[in-house]
Structures are given as structure tokens and as C-alpha cells.
């Protein structure tokens, strides 16, 4: 074989190799083409085996041509391999396509009860001002629920609390969280800043705004020189935190046997912004808590000297705050535990 013939055959080999590469439809076929043309016993090797028959000066030329053919085929193989890989991936992705509008796997959201969450929010707000949480029992003694709070037996003020009594002599279901004041004063020394959240009970017919079980948070602050101005300042801060900045508040006289002076604390109606509506009985104000300066007799009963210490107490109705906070129109929802209600919190 002479140089020209060999060159021509190498060129033909290149052409047929490129054709075979183009024709290979999958990686296996491509591998077969690779072996057939560029393998150890492939056509290129075989053809170049005839190089020895050529005159010496021609040999490098053929070698150069052979290398060029190899490189061309290898490049084509690589390109084709990439092409096939990309196509295979595309095919896989196409196969894997789903209806992306189908819903996700269900995960239960869970919920926290609005009453307990409101209690926690109240504790958070007063916690910023150094109030710490205490707890008192739901079944209370008549002594702590009434007598230590300056409400003797047969006192007409007992009419303010319709009481549920138990068959355990001397015990009743606490009508308010105020007995917590006595618990705290007996357990802690001033300075006292205490919060007592809890469940309370009253003999009360159930309607949209009353229940026989409800929740309160009691607050108590006692120290030398604690004043009604401190009470006002803290309650104003609370009202801002709970109902938004700039909401007007109002202090007016109230009555509790265990505070003197006693206070009713109103915020501007959150439903009508003070214009007057059914929710605020057209007064423009809503009473959110009762408070006052701790009665000297109560301080005494708590073991503190009223000449040295003075302080204030307040009792917040959690249910009432929660109603205003969430816009709930019926207090009964809280204890009904209808999932359609719970799921909104």
C-alpha cells in the first residue's frame, strides 16, 4: 500500500467513523463504535498497522494523518456522548414530571388555646416591668377568698361574687384570683411585683358574656412608696401593648372591699373607637379591669405593715381581654372547643 492509498483509506475510515458515531443512539452503541474504530483491535489500529510497509519518509506523514483521524473521532465521540447524556436526562426529567398543583402532604398545624395564650401575653407584657408569676389553688378557703380580703361573713359586698361552695367545710371555688394577693404576701417580701393567672368560678347563668368558669390574672405590686400613679402608668402601658399605641384610657372610681381607693380602668371602645356602639353600651368606653390600692387591712392580713408598705392590685378578666383582642362575640366559644374555633388560633 502506498502513501496515497493509505491516506485515502484513513480518510474513508474517518468518514465512516463519524457516520457511525452520529448513528449511535445510546451510550452502549457509542461504546461499541469506540471499540470498533479506536479500540486496541479497532480499524484505526489495524489500518495503521500497515505503516511499516511504507517508505521511511512517508511514515511520519501517515502517523500525523492517523493522529488527526483519532482526534477527530475522539472529539466526535465525546460530543456525541454529551449529547446522548443530555437527551437521557431530559427524558428522565420528562418522565418525572408531576401535576405540581396537587396539594402537599398534610401536616397538622396545631393550635394554642386563645385564653391561655392571652394569659401568656398578659404575663409577657407585665413581665417587661418586672412582674413574676405565682400560682394559687382553684379550691380556696373562705378565709383567703373573702375574709383576709376584708370581706367578713355576711358582708353585703359578698353579693358582688355569686359563690360556688364545696362540701369540704371552709372551702369554696375561688370567685376571683385575688386570694393570690394573700398567698404572695405571705410567701414573698417586698418589693413585690406578682402576677397570678388562674381559673375562677361563679354561680352565674351562662350567656354570651358570662360563664360559671372563667379566667383572670391578678396583679400585685407592694413596696415602700408604690402609688396610684404607678398603677395608672402600668395600666396605660398594658393598654398600649394589648390594644395599640395611642388608645385613650380612663380611670374612674370602682368598689372592692380589698382596695382603697378602688378603680375601674376603661379603654376607649375597640369596636367603635369611642363613637358609641352596642358593644360599649353607647358609652364609648369598655371596662377591662378593676384595680385599686391594696386595703391596709389586706396588707395586715398578708403580714405587712401598712404604715411602711403600700401597693396596688388589679384583676384582669382574661376572657374579656381575649374577646376584645380577637373580636369574639360569644364567651361560650372558649370552653366549647369546637375545632372550627380552635383552628383559628
Amino acid at each position: 500500500m502506498d502513501l496515497d492509498t493509505l491516506s485515502a483509506r484513513l480518510s474513508a475510515l474517518e468518514q465512516s467513523g463519524l457516520g457511525a458515531i452520529r448513528a449511535a443512539g445510546d451510550p452502549d452503541a457509542l461504546d461499541a463504535v469506540h471499540v470498533a474504530y479506536l479500540g486496541r483491535r479497532g480499524e484505526l489500529k489495524t489500518l495503521l498497522g500497515g505503516i511499516g510497509a511504507l517508505p521511511g519518509p512517508d511514515r511520519p506523514k501517515v502517523g500525523a494523518i492517523g493522529n488527526a483521524v483519532r482526534e477527530a473521532l475522539e472529539a466526535a465521540l465525546e460530543a456525541r456522548r454529551r449529547e446522548l447524556g443530555a437527551a437521557a436526562l431530559d427524558a428522565r426529567l420528562a418522565r418525572e414530571a408531576v401535576d405540581v398543583t396537587l396539594p402537599g402532604r398534610p401536616v397538622r398545624r396545631g393550635s394554642l388555646h386563645p385564653l391561655i395564650e392571652t394569659n401568656r401575653e398578659i404575663a409577657r407584657i407585665f413581665g417587661q416591668f418586672g412582674f413574676v408569676v405565682y400560682e394559687g389553688p382553684e379550691v380556696e378557703t373562705d378565709v383567703r377568698n373573702f375574709q383576709a380580703l376584708n370581706i367578713p361573713p355576711d358582708h353585703p359586698a359578698r353579693d358582688l361574687w355569686d359563690t360556688l361552695y364545696t362540701d369540704v367545710p371552709g372551702y369554696l371555688l375561688r370567685t376571683h384570683t385575688s386570694p393570690g394577693q394573700i398567698h404572695v404576701m405571705q410567701r414573698a417580701a417586698p418589693p413585690i411585683r406578682a402576677l397570678l393567672p388562674g381559673r375562677c368560678f361563679r354561680y352565674e347563668a351562662v350567656d354570651a358574656s358570662h360563664g360559671f368558669e372563667f379566667f383572670q390574672v391578678e396583679g400585685l405590686m407592694v413596696d415602700e412608696g408604690t402609688t396610684m400613679a404607678d398603677l395608672r402608668g402600668l395600666l396605660d402601658a398594658f393598654a398600649q401593648a394589648m390594644f395599640g399605641r395611642g388608645r385613650p384610657t380612663r380611670f374612674r372610681p370602682g368598689y372592692y372591699p380589698f382596695t382603697e381607693p378602688s378603680v375601674a380602668f376603661d379603654v376607649q371602645c375597640v369596636v367603635c373607637d369611642g363613637r358609641g356602639c352596642a358593644s360599649c353600651k353607647r358609652t364609648g368606653w369598655m371596662t377591662i379591669l378593676g384595680a385599686g390600692m391594696v386595703h391596709p387591712v389586706v396588707l395586715r392580713n398578708g403580714g405587712l405593715d401598712p404604715e411602711r408598705y403600700q401597693g396596688f392590685a388589679f384583676g384582669l378578666g382574661t376572657d374579656r381581654i381575649a374577646i376584645l383582642r380577637y373580636g369574639i362575640d360569644d364567651i361560650r366559644m372558649f370552653l366549647e372547643n369546637d375545632l372550627r374555633f380552635l383552628e383559628q388560633f
Binding site: 396537587l102 398534610p106 394554642l112 401568656r120 389553688p137 353585703p156 361552695y165 368558669e213 396610684m228 402600668l234
Partner: protein, 826 residues
């Protein structure tokens, strides 16, 4: 207290709109809870003059009248069924187009063939009096044609008088409050009596056997009365104030109660044997027919007004029928007494007869009002029912106390309020509520706390102190803080400035709600819904969980609202199950709930509360979806939840054990006790139970779902199992080795038992232990099962050798064999 403003105007001038007055009273502590406009619903009801009254020819009970309603108005023909009308009378006429209370429209109608051009109105139809039997006959000078609303319309304030201000349960008392707010002057009614005839002492004698229960009794006598209805004006006032008119004599007594806050009682003198009144406690076995015609058995605690023949009335509560003032009464004895507030309160409660009178008595009465009230009633009875007032009073305690001296320190007033009020300002403010002030004297004692010794004033302190001279009607002012309140009240509470406290902060205290909140967050984060159920449940709830109705550890409410809520819950289970049932009724059957609440037991006669976490899972726990299968709630679901919760909180992993005994509401084969290691690694504490409820219990409780699982855990035990601080434990950098063991045990051997043996024997190299397969069946023998555990072994510092691993596994196998008779499946 209902306050008709027209009546209030007798005692004080008011230049404010009703709304403005209501606001002022509210800010003074007399909260106005409602404003009622009477007469606003009498549209087109005018005064008419009856020209003629004739029988209806076609009816035996109707009358045909002609009525003039004004000089320019046509004469109307109006039919009426009432029989008390006569020509010349003036009556309210609802002309066609009128609207009456309740929205009732009056049009031209036909009755028995005659046309009626309107309606003559009764007092009841207008809500003006309570008389529904006849047409309201107006005074002869009522101006014809004028709207009734202009003549008799009124505005009534509903004032919430607090229990400490019995003195303000009266028009005169509220007039004083108006005066304090506006600076107007209070006008007392002029009480002047014309006394004739024999002295009262010759007609009435009063003996009080217990002066503690009746500190003062004043009697007066009016002779020759003619009992009949009161004037329309009086009836309208009483009705507006919420008191039913009865007769001129009884109305006089009620009128004075509302006017002065002084309840009195009027007796028919003919009903008092010998004119001798005895005030004494009832004797056992005595009975009295009260004014409501109920015969009552009297208890010895009851204070009576009696005569030598027996009881006349229950003091301060209700009169008796035998001495009731009626149409035939000619002589009236007026009782105006002061009674022990507690005795009256108890009697009113005991007989369930709480009245306007008893409410005032139980708040305490001003001594001098006994005299003033007797005079005023006598004056009104004589004026309204005729007759003559017998000279003098019978009075068991004529001495009247002077106003009390109440020393106080103005600096303390400012110090409590947190704002400086000048001393002369304090004096001015107190003067507006009739509290005079004078300088204190050395030796005066400041009452700080009722029932405790006061603070004596030395010379220097006295020089800065004042004494409040408290008018006798202010029985609520006893201590220094009461003076402070009075100052603040008149000043206006809103004048107390707000500021944040500058006093020292309290000591740190751990938040007792911390664990509870962590549990709540963890469980809500896992998709559970928090519920709050009633602490009061019913006997049936308890019976269903095996607690008998008379169980001695149950605390019961003695005055429950309903049986359904009459016992304090011993368990959270009934409440949780109730939530399930209620939601199932709304077709919500897949639930996962939790509640944290107190359960109550009586232990050795003392109520004990425990905080409990209850979890209830029901129905499908996976969530209905197109791409996953349902996962019905079961023991494993709730157990896994509790395990995850404990791990999240950093508590030790609870272990499960077969319960010693199973409650009636627990599935006997699907109930486990959960234990956690004691705080010091000592005896395991019982954390609680996880179980599937007994099918019979679910059925009895009307639960539809058959897939329910529950955990009831003691929160205090859980809290104790949480370490105060979490410590990071470095994890080994060397590889761990896993070994699987298929352990064959008898059916009777609990997996928890096996687990404990493995843990004990594999320590200290065991890092984790996981049960990954449970198998029974061939080739195992009947009664055997295989529990496949994966042990992960690791040393903290180096790679384990085969010998060490084999030794550990060998110990495990030996322990299983010797302690449980188990063998390893090849």
C-alpha cells in the same frame, strides 16, 4: 337604683343633659349603667276630655265615648271595654296613627258594628303605672290636647350603687352626689307635721328585747286615714323608679324609702293587739303568714316585730298579712327602725325574700334616719290619705350620734395617690361631699387599718394632720385611706398622673408556667390543638370512669348550677372525650387534642390539686391525602408522641411497663404505665399512663370513633424529670458499630422488660437501642415471639475491638438467657 330625673329635680338642680349627668356620676363612682327615656314610645297619645259616655247598643261590655282632644280637633268617637270612665274626666287618648310601648299601632277599627277612632289607655298600656284594669284617669287640670309624653315623660338613670354606699341608694343621696359633682345645693324635703289628738304613747308601746339586733325603733301613728290609690304623679314616680304602687299609705312608705333611703313599714293599728309592739327573736315553732300570703316557719335566728298575740312581721324583710294596711284600715302605725345588718341579710337569704327594704337594711342605716323617716312617712300618709298625726314619737333610743372624727395626714393622701395635692385643696374637695375638716390635736389617733391599732399623733405630726368630720350618713368612711379615696373621687381619678414605677425590682423568680408553656409549644408544634374544658363535671362523667357518685375523694359543689357541673374533675379524660364527641357531631372525627389542667382530690379531708397533661388522639392521624394511607390513632401513636415530647423537653426517656391494675375505662391489653427515673437516679416515678380506652367506655360516652388513644401524665413528675440545665455531651469521633439481635422470648415477656435487660447488660458502650422488628409464627414455636433490636455500640475515645464488641454482646445474650429465659435467633 332607678333614678327618675324629674323626681331627682325635687332635691337638686341639674343643668346637664342626661348623658352629661350620667358621665359625671360615673366618674364620681356612681356608675350609670343605662339611660331610659320614658314616654318616648307614646307617640300621638294626648290628653282628652270625655264629653259623653254611653253604653254600646250592640254589646253588653263596651262603652261608646266621645272625646275632645283640642279646640281645633274634631271630636273623636272612641269605644272602650273599661268601666271606670265618666263624662268630664280627662284620660289619655291614643289617636289613630299612635304607637304604644311594644310597637302596638292604634288605627280606626270597628267593634260590634261601631267605629272606634282611637283608644283610651290604661296606665299599664303606657307603662306609666301598673294598673291594667281601668282607663288611667288624669287630674282634672290636665291640659287637653297636650301630648302625654310632654306631661309624664321622664328620663330614668340606672345607677349602680356600690355595696359600701347604702346612703346613695336614695334620691337624696344621689342628689348629694350630683351636688358634689356640680357644686349645686341639696334641697331636703320640708318635713312639717300637724299633730292632733291623744299622744302616741297612749296608743302604741314598743319594747325591744335585743338592742343589738334593733338599736332604734321609732313609731308614729296616723288616725282616720282613707286608704285609696295615690295620685297619678306619685304612682308615676314609683313606677318609673321600679316600685309597684299599692295604696296611698303603702306608697308613702315606699316613697320615703326611695327618697331618703329609709325603709319603713306601715301596720294597720287594728292588727296590733293592745297596741303593744315587741321586737324579739322568733321562737321555735312560730309561724307567720307574710304579705305574699305564704305561711312561713320561723327560725330562732329571725328577728320579729310582734305583739303579745304573736308575730306581726319579719323585721326588715317582709310584713305580715294580719296587720296589712288595706281598704278598711283607719289607723296606721308607722315603724321606722334600725336593725342589725347581718341579721337582716341572713333572714332575707333564709326566706329567699330579698327586697328593696332588706337591701338597704343590710348595708346599715343611719341612726337619725329612723326619726326623720317616721316623720316623713307620717307627713305623707296624712297628706295623701287624710287623717291626723298623733303627737310625738315612740322612740327606743332617741340619742343620735355626733359626726365621727377621722384624723388623717394630708401627706399620706398625696403619698398614696402619687401626686401632690395642697392641703387647702384637700379641705375644699372634702367640703364638697359635706366632710368638714379641722386641725388635729396631739393624741389624736389615725385609723390606718380597720380592726388594728391606729397611729397616734405626736405634736409635730398633729400639726400637719387634719381631722375629717364625717357626716353620719357616710358610714363607709372609717380609715385614712377612705379619706384619700374621697379626695381622689371628688378631684377626679383621671387627675392622677400615670408614670412607670421607680421603686426597686423584685428578686428573680423562675416562671412556674415555663414547663407548661414549653409543653404547649411542643405539642402545638407537633400539630395538636389545645383545649380548655370545664373543671366542673357531672357525676355521670365520673361514674363512666369508675368513680362512684358517693366516692369520698370527690369534691362536690353544694349549690351547683346543674348536675352536669357539680363535681370537681378527678381526671381530664371526661372533658377530652366530651370535646371528641361534640366535634364528632360536627363530623370532625380526626382529632389530636391536649389540655393542661388541674384535677382535684380530697385527701385526708384536704383538697389537693394536681396539674395534669391530657392528650387525646382519635381517628386518622396522618391526614387525609391523595398520596398517603390513613394512620388510625393507637397506643403507639400516643406513646411516640410522649417520647418525642420528653426528648424535646430534655427529660429522661420514659419507659413503659405493663400496668399492675387496669382501670375500667382502659383497654386491658392496650394500657401502659410510663415511668421516668427519679430525680436522683433513684426509684422510678410514675409519669402517667398511655392507653386506648376500653371499647365499652367509648360506647357509653357516645364516642363514634373506634380509634382513640390517650395519655394522662402528671406534670409535676414531668417537670421533675427535666434537668435544670442542659449539658452538651461531646459525641465520639470514632466509628460506631451496629449489631442486630433477634431475641426470642415467650409471649408473656414484655418488650419493655427485654429492653431494660439489654440496656443494663450493654452499658456502658450502648449508645442507642432500637426495636426494629417484632415477629411471631413459623419457624418459631407457638407462644414465642422474636424481638429484633439494633444495638449501636461506641466508645467515647477509641474504635472498639472485635473482642470488646463480642464481650458486650455476650453479656447481653447471657443476661437475656438467665433473666428472661430468652435465646437468640440464628
Amino acid at each position: 337604683m332607678r333614678v327618675p330625673l324629674s323626681w331627682l329635680g325635687d332635691y337638686v338642680d341639674v343643668d346637664l343633659t342626661p348623658e352629661a349627668l350620667a358621665d359625671r356620676l360615673t366618674l364620681l363612682g356612681m356608675e350609670v349603667q343605662g339611660i331610659e327615656r320614658r314616654g318616648i314610645d307614646w307617640q300621638r297619645v294626648v290628653v282628652g276630655e270625655l264629653l259623653t259616655v254611653e253604653p254600646h247598643p250592640g254589646s253588653d261590655h263596651l262603652l261608646v265615648t266621645t272625646v275632645r282632644t283640642g279646640p281645633a280637633e274634631p271630636v273623636l268617637t272612641v269605644l272602650t271595654g273599661a268601666s271606670n270612665v265618666a263624662a268630664g274626666q280627662r284620660v289619655p287618648v291614643a289617636v289613630p296613627g299612635a304607637v304604644l310601648p311594644g310597637g302596638r299601632r292604634i288605627e280606626v277599627t270597628r267593634m260590634a258594628g261601631r267605629e272606634s277612632q282611637g283608644m283610651l289607655c290604661s296606665g299599664d298600656e303606657l307603662g306609666l303605672t301598673t294598673d291594667a284594669d281601668g282607663i288611667l284617669i288624669l287630674p282634672p287640670d290636665a291640659p287637653v290636647g297636650v301630648a302625654m309624653a310632654d306631661l309624664f315623660g321622664d328620663v330614668v338613670l340606672d345607677v349602680d350603687v356600690k355595696p359600701n354606699r347604702g346612703d346613695a341608694l336614695s334620691l337624696i343621696g344621689l342628689a348629694r352626689e350630683v351636688a358634689a359633682a356640680t357644686g349645686a345645693r341639696v334641697r331636703w324635703p320640708e318635713i312639717a307635721l300637724e299633730e292632733t289628738g291623744p299622744a302616741v304613747e297612749s296608743r302604741v308601746a314598743v319594747e325591744v328585747l335585743d338592742e343589738r339586733l334593733c338599736p332604734r325603733f321609732v313609731a308614729r301613728l296616723v288616725d282616720g286615714v282613707t286608704v285609696g290609690p295615690s295620685s297619678l304623679r306619685v304612682q308615676a314616680r314609683l313606677t318609673a323608679a321600679g316600685v309597684r304602687p299599692v295604696s296611698n299609705v303603702v306608697d308613702a312608705s315606699n316613697y320615703v324609702m326611695l327618697e331618703l333611703g329609709k325603709p319603713t313599714h306601715t301596720f294597720d293599728a287594728a292588727g296590733i293587739a293592745g297596741g303593744r309592739i315587741v321586737v324579739r327573736p322568733a321562737r321555735t315553732g312560730e309561724r307567720l303568714e307574710t304579705l305574699d300570703h305564704v305561711v312561713r316557719d320561723l327560725t330562732p335566728e329571725t328577728l320579729l316585730i310582734a305583739d303579745p298575740a304573736g308575730p306581726l312581721s319579719i323585721a326588715g324583710v317582709m310584713g305580715g298579712a294580719s296587720s296589712e294596711v288595706g281598704m278598711a284600715t283607719r289607723t296606721v302605725v308607722i315603724e321606722s327602725a334600725v336593725f342589725d345588718p347581718v341579721a337582716i341579710r341572713r333572714a332575707a337569704h333564709h326566706y329567699a325574700l330579698r327586697s328593696e327594704a332588706s337591701l338597704r337594711f343590710e348595708k346599715g342605716q343611719e341612726t337619725r334616719l329612723a326619726r326623720i323617716g317616721a316623720d316623713r312617712v307620717a307627713q305623707l300618709v296624712a297628706a295623701w290619705a287624710g287623717g291626723s298625726v298623733a303627737p310625738g314619737r315612740v322612740d327606743t333610743a332617741p340619742a343620735e350620734p355626733e359626726p365621727a372624727r377621722l384624723p388623717f395626714r394630708p401627706s399620706r393622701v398625696s403619698g398614696l395617690l402619687g401626686t401632690t395635692i395642697r392641703v387647702d385643696a384637700i379641705r375644699d374637695l372634702l367640703a364638697r361631699v359635706d366632710v368638714r375638716t379641722e386641725p388635729a390635736r396631739p393624741g389624736d389617733v389615725v385609723p390606718v387599718a380597720t380592726g388594728f391599732p391606729g397611729v397616734p399623733l405626736d405634736g409635730a405630726a398633729a400639726a400637719e394632720a387634719l381631722v375629717a368630720i364625717v357626716p353620719t350618713h357616710r358610714r363607709d368612711m372609717e380609715i385614712e385611706a377612705d379619706v384619700t379615696e374621697e379626695v381622689a373621687r371628688v378631684l377626679g381619678y383621671d387627675r392622677v398622673p400615670g408614670r412607670l414605677p421607680e421603686t426597686p425590682m423584685p428578686e428573680y423568680r423562675p416562671d412556674p408556667r415555663r414547663t407548661v408553656d414549653d409543653v404547649r409549644d411542643a405539642l402545638a408544634g407537633r400539630g395538636l390543638d389545645e383545649v380548655v374544658t370545664h373543671a366542673l363535671v357531672g357525676p355521670l362523667d365520673h361514674e363512666r370512669i369508675g368513680i362512684a357518685g358517693d366516692d369520698p375523694a370527690t369534691i362536690r359543689v353544694t349549690n351547683p348550677l346543674s348536675a352536669e357541673h357539680s363535681q370537681l374533675r378527678r381526671s381530664l379524660l371526661p372533658g377530652l372525650v366530651r370535646v371528641l364527641v361534640e366535634n364528632e357531631r360536627q363530623r370532625r372525627v380526626d382529632l389530636s387534642l391536649f389540655e393542661i389542667g388541674h384535677v382535684h382530690d380530697l385527701v385526708d379531708g384536704v383538697p389537693v390539686e394536681r396539674a395534669v397533661l391530657g392528650i387525646l388522639l382519635a381517628g386518622d392521624q396522618a391526614g387525609v391525602a391523595w398520596n398517603q394511607a390513613a394512620r388510625p390513632a393507637d397506643l403507639w401513636e400516643v406513646r411516640g408522641l410522649v417520647t418525642a415530647l420528653c426528648a424535646r423537653l430534655g427529660a429522661l426517656r420514659p419507659t413503659a411497663a405493663r400496668p399492675g391494675t387496669v382501670a375500667s375505662y382502659e383497654h386491658p391489653g392496650r394500657t401502659a404505665t410510663l415511668l421516668v427515673a427519679g430525680p436522683d437516679g433513684g426509684v422510678d416515678a410514675v409519669l402517667g399512663r398511655v392507653f386506648q380506652p376500653h371499647p365499652a367506655y367509648l360506647e357509653a360516652a357516645e364516642v363514634r370513633s373506634t380509634h382513640v388513644a390517650v395519655a394522662l401524665l402528671d406534670l409535676d413528675v414531668l417537670q421533675a424529670a427535666i434537668p435544670a440545665v442542659r449539658r452538651y455531651v461531646p459525641f465520639p469521633r470514632v466509628p460506631a458499630v451496629e449489631r442486630d439481635l433477634a431475641i426470642v422470648v415467650g409471649d408473656g415477656t414484655a418488650a419493655g422488660e427485654v429492653e431494660r435487660v439489654v440496656r443494663d447488660a450493654a452499658a456502658p458502650l450502648l449508645r442507642t437501642l432500637r426495636l426494629f422488628d417484632v415477629y411471631a409464627g413459623a419457624p418459631l414455636a407457638p407462644g414465642e415471639r422474636s424481638l429484633a433490636f439494633r444495638l449501636t455500640l461506641q466508645s467515647p475515645e477509641r474504635t472498639l475491638t472485635d473482642e470488646e464488641i463480642d464481650a458486650t454482646v455476650g453479656r447481653v445474650v447471657d443476661a437475656l438467657r438467665t433473666r428472661l429465659g430468652a435465646h437468640i435467633r440464628a
